[in-house]
Symmetry: C2
Subunit: 478 residues, 2 copies
Amino acid sequence: MPEDRLPSRAEDFSEWYNQLVLRAELADYAPVRGCMVVRPYGWALWEAITRELDRRFKATGHVNAGFPLFIPQSFMEKEKEHVEGFSPELAVVTIGGGEKLEEPLAIRPTSETIIGHMYAKWVKSYRDLPILINLWNSVVRWEKRTKLFLRTTEFYWQEGHTAHATAKEAEEETLRMLEIYADFAENEAAVPVIRGRKSESEKFAGAVCTYGIEAMMGDGKALQAGTSHNLGQNFAKAFNIQYLDEQNNQQFAWTTSWGLSTRFIGAIIMVHGDDTGLILPPRLAPIQVIIVPIWRKEEEKAAVTEKALQLEKELQTEFRVRVDLREGLTPGFKFNDWEMRGVPVRIEIGPRDLAARSVMLARRDRPGREGKTAASWDGLSHSIGALLNEIQAALLARAKQFRDDHTQDPADYAGFRNAVETGFAVSGWCGDAACEEKVKQDTKATIRCIPFDSPGGKGHCIVCGKDASQKAVFGKAY
Amino acid sequence: MPEDRLPSRAEDFSEWYNQLVLRAELADYAPVRGCMVVRPYGWALWEAITRELDRRFKATGHVNAGFPLFIPQSFMEKEKEHVEGFSPELAVVTIGGGEKLEEPLAIRPTSETIIGHMYAKWVKSYRDLPILINLWNSVVRWEKRTKLFLRTTEFYWQEGHTAHATAKEAEEETLRMLEIYADFAENEAAVPVIRGRKSESEKFAGAVCTYGIEAMMGDGKALQAGTSHNLGQNFAKAFNIQYLDEQNNQQFAWTTSWGLSTRFIGAIIMVHGDDTGLILPPRLAPIQVIIVPIWRKEEEKAAVTEKALQLEKELQTEFRVRVDLREGLTPGFKFNDWEMRGVPVRIEIGPRDLAARSVMLARRDRPGREGKTAASWDGLSHSIGALLNEIQAALLARAKQFRDDHTQDPADYAGFRNAVETGFAVSGWCGDAACEEKVKQDTKATIRCIPFDSPGGKGHCIVCGKDASQKAVFGKAY
């Protein structure tokens, strides 16, 4: 770890983020432009995310599968809006085994097209529906400006792809998966999200309707943290996914897709982190508890180390715990190191604690003296469980409070322009794309979503003053 | 499932395999030449394999990470043998975001080069070693002749990459991982393997020494089921992975790599399967127990179904169990269907069983009457646990017996030529590549490995008659 200080969030939020990702060893820049190496600590966080999502997917009847990386370029062209949205971002293989390929292969930017091709082959009758498949993989989009986790040329994600017999079932599935994302975000990652519908200009290329969860980062900007698309019959018609219904009539299927990516790690960093480093939500933290043994005299070392190891052994049946026995580093250095890495609870144990049969517990989310409490060896596992739950709840509450404090319902367009400089504006919108575009030109803010839980009446369009058909959440986005 | 019969293994082993993979819905052909779609049932088997391997990797101190798909072509050229081995098989991206790339990017065929680049950046001192990283991903090798799971252009695998301070540690790691593969193969997959060293001509491009586990398939051919490479300082020197030792001297690190792929699914199919279909080892089977309710009269249906669902609920705390409630299919059809898919135990339950408070258990590995036993509802979970263990052990024993029956120590070259037609020949080898090459020309058999447990004395080279320096296992390989 470099000795020099992390920039503060207030002085340079973007640079605070970049340096923190590197210093906490979450990720590193790859030698290929725009690509990242996810380092073991970052990957362990991603594994925790995949574990919690995968559990929810399987509990709702989904199964995983593996689809190819390569997509024939002709496939991309079968759905008109899809190709317009994705073809500028494609990486294309033109050489294989030393020879020029007859048909170039796109590296998948998303798998709707090859999924459509295979589902058309597999689906014959209504008995074959629904198909509820999810893929854990990586995809490639040739991005101009990249930032670790938030926007990289290759990124890791899951993409769900389902096919249904009716429009109603497809819409239910689309909303079910959005709710799973929201539940995951709030209850595992302690990231409060706004559930809503995307405007036409922000929806997925080829979708009938896109829903998303939107989170506010520590600088007041928005991050789209997961999306769920009702694809209607667009891909079913482009790829001929047809089935015989119970009355023996050929019907096109109705499909959906939904995804959440390593971008979410960026959300966790930017929602919870402070000037000292990461703060990881206990439920997802790769290490929930770090034990730091403390001694001054050499003769104290053995007893303290032995007890630290014993505590690790006792606690590891319930928690992800590790003891820091690194030689040649001061306890203070270790405290800073694990604080930077966001470990939710630190256990300090020294000679005086041995005598008192207790330890000192330090909360990462409340630095300094107020976050410290002594805890007896008896019932320690219970104390730590309770503390981790308390931290998890406190992180969610703090993030909600921050979002509320940075969300306004401005009275006029001047107030609106101010509001989107520091957070969200929840304002009436007439539904006209021209007003949406004017906001973007004037402020760089966009409609993040039309929230399901619309606050108050619809009022008037914040831009043109006409009757608003809905309230929308406006903000600058990552 | 098509109505027509699977070809028998005796009449056409290769076609039996191809059709079984498709019919059991393990995988399907992708619309890109040489690529496969791993379907949910096949992916669930792969997930079971990854779960058991990942557990072993983590228990021995390894951590996972994510490395990019793209490798600059110049990287491939830094290690001389490596580039010779892999460049004919590369898929190359030449276009990104609509523009021709300045430097073409290879899709990783394996990640030693990009790992070397990053480790050189991360490693400074002996304190940074060892690095014990594993990756779960897919790689691409442009293969001419492909076969589902066994050889596909893109395949899924894990690749471990470690760096050490000493040659001794690297060698220990290489052998440790080989033993993990062997332990996994035998104790989870019930696939007996021969542990050994590869000859020079068969070793990994860029390795000092390659070790492998070799299994015999149901047609007597060999399948290399996992490999572990001691890379010496070859990649450390090519990529400049240097560290300061405790005496403050710059040293090159010693590296290893090791991999096991979806190919292993092919081994499971070909070692255990029979003319009726798959036989999956209980420890890896996605479904360990299938419950088929049986009734003739409509009024029997409710009670039988209710009990079947109750059994599923009771058993699912311990086993991966499912009840087949599909409408419009006969019990006989369902029996065949699940036998084809290799589910280890079938529970049949009908009106008579309700009266007797029992069920019929049918073992997949012993078709027909001799594999059936009645079991009481009381202690059913215990009975099933014992039966699954018995099946697991029986599969391993049967596969060992088959291998022994098809392994010979021929007296002369004529006998040797016969032996490799039906299985393995364990014969003396002088160590000369010319003798190895002659065997290949004459028989298409190759040296599968120099086994660690060499049977009997070394004797004479089976080809040239000179004193043998070792015994080698010869066989035709997939």
